[in-house]
Subunit: 498 residues, 2 copies
Amino acid sequence: MSDALVQLKERLAKITDLERVGRLLNWDHQTMMPPAGGNHRAEHLATLRRISHELLIDDETGRLLDELRPLEETLDADSDDGALLRLARRDYEKAVRVPTELRAEMTRAAAHARPIWVKARAESSFEQFLPALERNVELRHEYVACFDGVDEPYDILLDDFEPQTTTAEVRETFDELKPELMSLIAELRDEDGDVSFLQGTFPIDRQEKLAKDVVSLFGFRPDTWRLDPTEHPFASGAGVDDIRITTHYDPTSMKSLFSTMHEYGHGLYSHQQPRHLERLPTGSPCSLGIHESQSRLWENLVGRSAPFWRLFYPRVQEAFPDQLRAVELDDFLAGINRVRPSLIRIKADEVTYGMHIILRFELEQDIINRRVELRDLPQIWNERMSEYLGVEVRNDAQGVLQDTHWASGLMGYFATYLLGTVMSVQIWQKVLEDVPTLEEEIERGEFASLRDWLGEHVHAHGRKFSPQETLRRATGTTIDPKPYLAYLRTKYGAGVAA
Amino acid sequence: MSDALVQLKERLAKITDLERVGRLLNWDHQTMMPPAGGNHRAEHLATLRRISHELLIDDETGRLLDELRPLEETLDADSDDGALLRLARRDYEKAVRVPTELRAEMTRAAAHARPIWVKARAESSFEQFLPALERNVELRHEYVACFDGVDEPYDILLDDFEPQTTTAEVRETFDELKPELMSLIAELRDEDGDVSFLQGTFPIDRQEKLAKDVVSLFGFRPDTWRLDPTEHPFASGAGVDDIRITTHYDPTSMKSLFSTMHEYGHGLYSHQQPRHLERLPTGSPCSLGIHESQSRLWENLVGRSAPFWRLFYPRVQEAFPDQLRAVELDDFLAGINRVRPSLIRIKADEVTYGMHIILRFELEQDIINRRVELRDLPQIWNERMSEYLGVEVRNDAQGVLQDTHWASGLMGYFATYLLGTVMSVQIWQKVLEDVPTLEEEIERGEFASLRDWLGEHVHAHGRKFSPQETLRRATGTTIDPKPYLAYLRTKYGAGVAA
């Protein structure tokens, strides 16, 4: 290996390590840290971010990349080193445009905004959150201004979460989804069915046990994974052998089970990253959209399916006999799959979920294009919720303040949830083609074929290719909303039966 | 403030942040990390260590220090900036001698050795641990070889834990202690007294509750502290408002209470560091010896004293009625203060503890001066335990493998335990002079005067001065074993009574 390549890899390994350490600090922040530790944490994260940014944009990185250009031209674009050089060049060329101080300030401002948002949401007061939001949005404007040669400013934000994907491309996908989803919602919104058994008393210790059961069944290994409770579920970790997922236990519902399955999908993706690329940027998940395709696949295509519940329902019935003793499997399945427009994105069903995302995707573009005043966001939010989902927002906590993303500096992120959801169905159909016995295996509690298929066809690519190229290699096609819409029509048109 | 001073402080803040992040990763490693995460963790710690070392030894640090020399000469040596420049220069001049690769390799080798030691100790097999120990000792030889102009090689290792303190100085203190301790042990070793009530059944949930009770009473604030269980108790944290202490619960004894009080002392020292020096090297604890003076003070001078137990014994009796219902306070006090030579350092009483340390201090000098073969360590260890404490070592797990230090690359560390113990008595006597009502306050459960005195006279100095200068500012004198020996003679000669 050339000296320059060795040196570049050492530099990229350091950057990767710092990024992983930052992820662990974020996990700790949300699971373990004493509350007053937040100020230290903001400084520490800003320092890690600043150092890794300086390492990336250092003249020496540019010099090494220049020196390696002739080598890169001789390498197969699919090879590990070819992909690494292509990716490193792209990361470098993006990063070098952003002043280190701005990058650190974005991290710091986000860390400071989070506790303000927590309090504002608890008190349902958008007014309290507005100054912190203004500061974070202002920093996004400064960030966007570092770039030129893009079709629209929002492309810059989107690219940080879904690389090499433009706002126009996402808009095309979402514009195809929007009328179909709205018509499906109108069709299904008044469906009957008793789902009162899903609300009631679900003791947390039993939810914890079930959460552990379901991820063990899927393939959670305690020597490499953790599962902890948090206010908001997420997946994180410090490497392929240190995966940390969280879930939220609500004593009045069993929704923790679905969020646990969701985070398992994220965790498995991180766990099955290519080991020989560990500590290199190519050995990380490809994009948030691809990440979400994995979590939605386990949550919905496995976790809300009849084969899975034929296996798992008896355990859940046994855990919550007062709630479920008298509920037949078919009624339970209909209940967990009921379509009902609601206020909160993370509680939305498979059909209405997309409209929550489209609302945010459109609103963020309005913000970045300065077409709306930030102080008007609650009103705009509420109007669009009424238009898209037919629900009335009663307070900001259940409206514009419900999600942590803007308080965490994450603008450009939301679209990936729906992109991932769409892609999850494309991937699922391909798994079913390749593993025709999959549903029978699931019903027997066997998940190895599914894990292995995803490992081989999706996870093993790491970040070597763009999201769409990764999807193409896994399924043969790029993103297409039709299979997702067909899946919804089949599942919800026909009803779900065991 | 001069530009150069601003720049130097920014650089030192980064280094301090990285050190704090490293402490958090170590805490996580021992409390939360899935076992297989150890390999990532070793790489991540080595990367943090390498980056902070590179920042410190960078030519730019030297240039800033040169530029600031005239300023330094005008500053009061006691001032914050005067102390900072003196300390930064000392840290720089030490660090610049050590190649970055060696520094990172020392961190990595230690992280790799730890799980090997865990297994070797579990199987009581020194043979298994020997290669990892050899590697770590070899790296210490390489480290020592980076320096010249010292009286003896061991000075270099000692200085990393107890700065500006020579082996000869420690030897002088220990040589004064050694015959006195050995004679005291000989005198007390056959004392009678029933302590069977200290062995038995102590349900862990009640121990947990008592541990929380005692540190709450001392002044543990849940918004800034955590207390978790670990195999080996320790104190760590990420800053003054993020303090993490751990303890070990053994269902057959109540020793967790004493280790909790010990770690509280460490935690309080970190918590009361000067806030205006946060993120600067001067805003950190001074030395491990001073650190230990704080932990031993809370564990022994508070936690094994009659006034404290007049307050706290009823709670402990209530928690463990089967064990303690029939045990009078005087008998309990005599029991927790009984002198009995034993195999394990961390279980030793106040009188025998010192000999455990002196043994290790002497042995480490023998290792570094190549006067012993590493493979002979078990035999030498066992011979000296017999000579110093009159106990026979039955296996390596209870002998040479008992402590984690050598598996963590910590050579030069042990002496600080006894230095701290000696200093704790000097400090305690000074507190009693300044706060004559202290014992009555303790008996009433009031610890604010003690916390505040320690905060003002010890903690507030941070790392501005050498350990001995810090002690002199707190007590008026430097280290002196006589008060400690007098304390032991008074306490154990007279017996302890309520």
